[in-house]
Symmetry: D2
Subunit: 427 residues, 4 copies
């Protein structure tokens, strides 16, 4: 954490310029019908994106990993990192935990630390794609979909334990990402694998506290390269339907085949009332786990356009969506990357709040493609950075979080404190 | 149609060689546990693939079309073409009609002609992706999903008329392929378009005779290039669930994003009891509509492997699947192309019947990927051409249909009869 | 064309708002190092994008076409349409012709009409992917790559005729897009087809006037769906190297496989001094020919970033690039679509001119990925619409070209004059 | 290694069946014009595919690795594993080394061991995508393309050392796979990175012994996910042209964007005389590194069809191609996987040798797509397993290598000898 004075000093030279820009934009927006600057800023302030504990360290690929130093070595240090992010941007008020990497050893202490930083636990995440030391059964050939009943039982039990760890820390969401699948034609019986997965999920769902949500993620490939048991939204959706109303689909932006229209899937799931969670990241080829918005900012805007459109539509009965960044930071400082991602997310969100929806609906009704496109374009081309900066400021954060983080030379402090070769658990 | 004597003469020089090969393969298969040659041939003889009326003429792209001459100019001539195919291979006993291109003007005559050739009508297909002369409303901006109630009503009515035309000719299946979608972000309201589509389909479903099946096709792109209202199996599935038990999903092999595992979708839909129809074609980049099996013969085999696996599994409650070739013939003689496609389909089917399923299940249960793969490979590598040829022969057809068609110089006769510039309706 | 007074009246209510926005942005930019507003506007004014004659009518797919009315029926009417575009935006000063669709019948008249409107002929484009009535040889199986020497000779001769038509009208560029390829494995001998193509191109190149450029386009699929003779930039590049210095590669944004990094190809070709031409359009799945910038505006910006980077680098010896819009307008008014495309192009160009290149180079040298990305992002997020509008105004055009076109109800006039069912030649 | 008697005993029960099948196929082939069984077997026996040292252990993804036990822990044990493969199939007579993982500590001993097993060193492979302990410069931001001259010098020097290690063991090929690239727009200057790479390669090329070949691999993504410095064949080709005649392009089957026609690239490079090496593996989504031929056996056949076509064409002046399997074995026993891969490769090769090339050329010249396709299909559908088995037998190997390996319970022996947790170096 930075000292309040430090933050104030970092902002000081930027305030005048910020206010001028904010004022000019505010006037411009007042001349349009969609939303006032103040209204957008108020919405931005409410928007929170969770940080996963496993994204606080340097990521890598199967070809290697180049750690940057000062990575958090414990749950305590992970919470400290997220607390800093939240201090800087006021939009990172939650942390997602991964079991077994983040099994809390000092529950009361963690609770205190979270409360002090204004943080909460977002989602619990199980891990049945790796073997842990001393584990009785191997997940080499799957977990919830395994042909071996003992493996499935172990995987179900692990998920139920995640619920218990989460309950201790106040979590209300559990996420299942299933790596199960096959690398070769014939290796796995498709119908059998689906059926076993459905039954395993039913067992986990049966243990779900009544106020919790179970999120089912999908992914078309990796770590299996011929088939994944839950490859697409249709499969997640069918599994959720079989489970019940507390089960919801989770969309990870990097988990789609080339050229997928993701925003349409988002709208569809909301229409069904089945969109429960979101994993933000950037993707060009697959699950690249890059900075959110770094590759396809317009797609990110179109996705938010769907989220806002549904949120403003009383006929849509979709529950609150759990937002999380799920990225891997191979070449950037993880904390910078998370600040950039959050900034891009808020930018896309702010733009989508500027869309003139009544005009858009009229253009859609009239099939005026050129006009409808132009209404979206108008919002997208607007430079909303003053709105995002204002939201940061009102939350007591930094006008420019990444710059502030750099100027405070925070990483150097972490390296000094934790060591150059400190390694976080994670991917 | 060829004279019986003609067919006999075409086969005569091939019979001895065929019998030797068939005999050798038969002996080989007897040494394995999976299936005898005779059993496979019996299954092949029952397998029928419908021919769509619009695939009997030369196809094209938006860049041009190069007609080959002698194309059928009427429903009568189209039936005659399919009759020839069925005579040659015994596997093309049905024809799919496209309304308005194939509105029967002489129902009794058509019925007689069909009966004489041993043919039946497979599926009716509506066309709401083009405007017909004199049509009241335009489909330029959609049909069942249109924002305009009058357009939707016209499109629903057109589909209901298809049912009536089909009823006259004994059809029991109606297929809806919806070209509706959008070319630009913002053009179409995703949730609204889905809801309108669901309501339009409900109206058509309401008019469906109790012994009919309604098939809902999906396609990710073309003719719309930003979004399609029904882009994927998940959407078709959700729409079918909303309609009722007579609604089923139709899988067209060319209607998937790059790298999609289609065989898994096939297995999944069968597991749900929702696989109703199949459009066969070959695809490398999109809806290329090439000869079935010409690009990815192993994928075709794996798809049949799922179909056979489900058919042999008493726990699967999937209705009979309507098979059709849906290809476009831009550079080949359409009739040759259809004969080749059918041959490739039967070849893949025959191979899938050779899979040793108990051994495969055991390998899958033991997670022996190498062995499971090898069991599929064993079937795939087997040269089953003698089995397919035997099925043709037993049906009174040609041992080598394409060669027979060529030797009979059938196309020359069609050109002489119908003209070099005769153009079929279709794409 | 609109009357000057009409244009003035359309702009009048927008001028005050425009000037305020331009002034504010101008001040903001002065505080940065990259470029002043005036300098960017000056660059924008010089930038010209040609309009192809075939994009002035409604486009379609193989599934249908829905004409909008008032399409130009002759070269004269096509020039009139482009003249209007150029009047509105000052950035469409050239027209590309397609032979045989645009063979000039009155050369002097066309020259006069062009001069009066401040237009010139950009590129000539041959057509060997369709058969014209009365043509001796068919292109069904290819043209420059055909196995038939007579076909190749005809195709070469057609290209040489294009040069002559272009010479009459002052063109200096000839573009070859080759549809040749194959639909099936085995159909075409890859090495043979390449060799024949190289020889045919050499014959055309031999007839090229010394001040002309020959552009070689590439495309991975459509209208052939197994292989295209010139599928990728590597093939175009190798062919150009074989021809000589007047041959250059043409990049069409829609002609790439999924996930291709096009901006890198652009940079590479400039590094080789072999980037000769650009076809702008929007693409999500393939050669979708949508409005430029409608799907991937960030990619468009990154491409311009490469173009500007090379243009400002004295070590790059790439000739001037011929820019053209090559889109198809299936659902929008073609003239609106072209105005939107040009607007998006100028927007991307303006943003790329704002990039702080010395700072970017320093960040790249230091491998500071976060900072380098942020420098691009800073330019991309800037709302440059006042700059583009100012360029329009300085050129005597409309501050908002599409709105002006609509308010002037120009299309209604064209329909009244040319008819509701007037059809342009083209795709 | 197995005892000769052991191998004999494993083959004994299969010999009679094999001979009957071989005899029947042999007669069938004699009735065709293409090639006799004996001729094909002779060609198969000459075909050798190298095994990379890093493919002898269990592979993994960034999500985890599940070792199978008994992995080779030293160069000596790696050579022993390849010796066993070569004993079983007679087609794995070479091993590719990876530096620094395989730096020979006992050169004379390694030479002796290789000679005794009839093995040779195929290609040397450098590693500049990971940091080794004690390394002066980091490759985190690239190696040959680095902006830092010291990093480039270190990477060049490492490659030159590889040449020296290879020289000691008799290698004649050096392969450069460059992981350099960028994860974010702006991070890397495209033209600069290319230029630096070209210069670094020139330095390595300058140290290349006159009888060596330098292979330049390309890959579109992973481990970098926005751009790779050498993403496609065009880039490899241009770099080779800049270097000189000893530089050649290496094609890895998994290194292409979705839907790429790889066989055409193979034909093209041979036409240019620039195809130098091949990495075999199976791919569905990207660099999946699956068993060769497990996903797209028809594509593998079509690639061999190009190789054979060029080999039989006197006008093609392409040097000998270095073949290697480059796969990762995540779920199978690595040695089984390598035997399966080699079997699939030989199967595809055998089929391609059966193609009736004069007939194919005639069909291609006549643009008879259906016939040309059928000629390839005829070869592909032929069950060539007796030919491959005969090649194994003549080489003194096992009729069914995988089955023999399993029956000999070789892995159990390795585990007993090397330990259950022995881990090989590699990916």
């Amino acid at each position: 954490m930075l000292l309040a004075q430090q933050l104030h000093d970092l902002n000081a030279p930027l305030v005048a310029g910020h206010e001028a820009n904010y004022h000019h934009l505010s006037e411009q927006l007042d001349q349009r019908s969609a939303a006032s600057a103040a209204a957008v800023v108020a919405q931005l302030r409410q928007f929170q994106v969770a940080v996963p504990s496993w994204a606080l360290g340097t990521g890598g690929t199967r070809f290697g990993r180049f750690p940057g130093g000062g990575e958090p070595r414990s749950l305590e240090e992970k919470i400290a990192d997220v607390a800093l992010l939240h201090q800087l941007n006021g939009s990172s008020n939650a942390i997602s935990l991964h079991i077994p990497w983040d099994i809390p050893t000092d529950v009361a202490g963690a609770q205190q630390q979270l409360a002090a930083a204004g943080l909460r636990i977002d989602s619990m995440n199980s891990n049945t794609f790796q073997d842990q030391p001393g584990q009785a059964q191997t997940y080499k050939f799957g977990s919830l979909a395994s042909t071996d009943a003992a493996v499935r039982a172990q995987a179900v039990q692990h998920n139920i334990e995640c619920l218990e760890y989460g309950r201790q820390l106040g979590a209300l969401v559990h996420t299942v990402w299933l790596a199960d699948g096959s690398n070769f034609p014939g290796q796995q019986h498709f119908r059998g694998a689906y059926q076993r997965t459905q039954e395993s999920l039913a067992a986990i769902y049966g243990a779900l506290p009544p106020d919790w949500t179970l999120l089912v993620e999908y992914k078309p490939f990796e770590p299996n390269f011929y088939s994944m048991v839950i490859p697409d939204w249709g499969t997640s959706y069918a599994l959720c339907q079989a489970m019940g109303p507390q089960a919801q689909v989770l969309v990870d932006l990097g988990h789609h085949l080339p050229n997928t229209n993701i925003e349409q899937i988002v709208g569809r799931l909301q229409h069904f009332g089945r969109l429960g969670g979101f994993h933000f990241n950037g993707s060009m080829y697959g699950d690249d786990d890059l900075t959110t918005g770094s590759i396809k900012p317009f797609q990110l805007f179109l996705i938010f356009n769907e989220l806002v459109d549904s949120a403003q539509d009383a006929t849509v009965h979709n529950p609150a969506v759990a937002y999380m960044i799920d990225a891997s930071h191979n070449t950037k400082d993880p904390l910078e990357d998370l600040l950039q991602s959050t900034d891009n997310i808020l930018t896309a969100y702010a733009k989508s709040l500027l869309v003139d929806r009544p005009a858009l609906q009229a253009a859609q009704a009239a099939n005026d493609a050129a006009l409808a496109e132009d209404l979206l374009r108008d919002a997208f081309l607007t430079d909303v950075r003053p709105l995002v900066a204002e939201a940061y400021r009102q939350a007591g954060g930094a006008l420019r979080p990444v710059a502030a983080y750099r100027q405070a030379t925070h990483r150097a402090g972490l390296i000094a404190q934790r060591g150059r070769h400190a390694l976080a658990t994670g991917l």
